[in-house]
């Protein structure tokens, strides 16, 4: 097994054409066996991808930017910062990269829900070159084998207000589930709603029916107690609780999220 350290995206794209390659950025989610079994490990830390920058009204985050760097660079009340604050620990956040978390979706990665709610897009090189929505990436990960994520980008600012929360046994524990809500308002009524639950059996669920029910309605006209009654979320049993228990916790967090966003208006 050999390590490669490409210095340009062109060099990376060439290396990705070969069989048995494995990409390394921070390495925190990569088990030793995976490194041992790879023919070539491509370390992308020498590429100029360690950035978090605002490009007009788009936030662009390079694949090798660490979670700590993202927290330091985005606004302190940004949805992603809220999610990252309860992700892993300080020394791990100094090492975990955005690209690795997006590509491998490790247990501790809390930002799947936020990135989906932000309609994040991924720049990809390798067998597929181009920009893809994060949702498309998650729904068909196999298609992206032999590719590397080079950038995550999403709209900065805007009028959407967000809520994020998660459920875990302790502050340092992996999240058993996360909920993210985002409301884009036009005057007093909801123009667009985004509601994402992660950690469930389907990895993540967009609550499309509830989202559609919000459109054009004033938040005051919505009864929060009945709002999520028809939502059927399925969770596997986890150390943090049984499947039915976690489904109930998710419902409570969704109601809290709605309350928080409605009362903030």
């Amino acid at each position: 097994m050999e390590w490669y350290f490409p210095k340009s995206l062109e060099e990376l794209a060439e290396l990705l054409k070969e069989e048995g390659v494995f990409i390394h950025a921070g390495g925190t989610a990569i088990k030793e066996e995976r490194i041992k079994s790879a023919k070539r490990v491509i370390d992308i830390s020498s590429l100029p991808l360690n950035y978090v920058k605002k490009d007009g009204d788009i936030w662009r985050i390079g694949a090798t930017a660490t979670l700590s760097r993202v927290m330091d660079s985005l606004e302190s009340d940004h949805l992603l910062v809220k999610a990252l604050k309860c992700t892993a620990t300080t020394p791990l956040r100094n090492r975990i990269t955005v690209g690795g978390s997006v590509f491998l979706s490790p247990l501790w990665s809390n930002f799947m829900g936020p990135l989906l709610a932000l309609d994040a897009k991924l720049n990809v090189v390798g067998k597929l070159n181009g920009t893809y929505s994060y949702e498309e990436f998650l729904s068909n990960k196999a298609k992206f084998q032999g590719c590397a994520v080079t950038e995550v980008n999403f709209q900065a600012g805007g009028s959407t207000c967000f809520f994020f929360d998660r459920f875990a046994r302790t502050a340092n524990d992996y999240s058993a589930l996360t909920v993210t809500l985002g409301f884009s308002m036009k005057g007093d009524v909801v123009d667009e709603a985004k509601i994402v639950v992660t950690g469930c059996k389907k990895v993540y669920e967009r609550l499309n029916a509830v989202e559609a029910g919000f459109k054009g309605k004033s938040l005051k006209a919505i009864d929060p107690d009945r709002l999520f009654d028809d939502v059927k979320l399925e969770f596997a049993d986890k150390p943090a609780g049984s499947g039915p228990y976690l489904a109930e916790v998710a419902r409570v967090l969704l109601m809290r999220g709605f309350d928080a966003l409605a009362s903030a208006r």
Partner: protein
């Protein structure tokens, strides 16, 4: 494989397996001040600074370190010339079995580099990846506050 590593300001040419962790590379080459705890990135006993940033050396592949500067606790002070943070840990009674202390000292060092006057909450956040099973953390937080004062006086 073989590579050069900048450890505590000195360049060392070291041999290691392609899948070796930085923790093992350091300990196998005499840097035993880096403690081996959980090997899962939870306990912080193996903390080192990589270009000044606190990381768990058990979660870092040695091959990926490249030219970055590695600092262990011996890189900031010695028994004869202790760093003010190390003095503060002794004076505050924050050392019991001592296993977590190298990591705690480096976490404090990284914190004070960024924030010379941290609040209790900021101290707890900065030390969230370093576990101590003896002290209950009260003395450790006292030590960080004392260290902040000492570092300021020294400056």
């Amino acid at each position: 494989m073989k590579a050069s590593f900048n450890i505590n300001g000195k360049v060392h040419e070291l041999e290691f397996a392609p899948h070796a962790r930085l923790l093992d590379l350091l300990r196998d080459n005499g840097f035993t001040e880096v403690k081996c705890g959980c090997r899962e990135g939870f306990c912080g006993a193996c903390s080192v600074l990589l270009d000044g940033e606190l990381v768990n050396s058990c979660m870092v592949y040695a091959a990926s370190v490249g030219e970055r500067k590695i600092t262990t606790v011996k890189g900031i002070g010695s028994i004869h010339e202790p760093h003010p943070i190390q003095e503060a840990f002794v004076e505050a009674g924050a050392v019991q079995c001592g296993f977590c202390t190298p990591g705690m000292v480096l976490a404090t060092y990284a914190l004070l580099q960024r924030n010379p006057d941290p609040t209790d909450e900021e101290i707890k956040e900065a030390l969230d990846g370093n576990f101590c099973r003896c002290t209950g953390y009260v003395k450790i937080i006292d030590a960080v506050k004392l260290a902040a004062r000492k570092v300021k006086e020294n400056d």
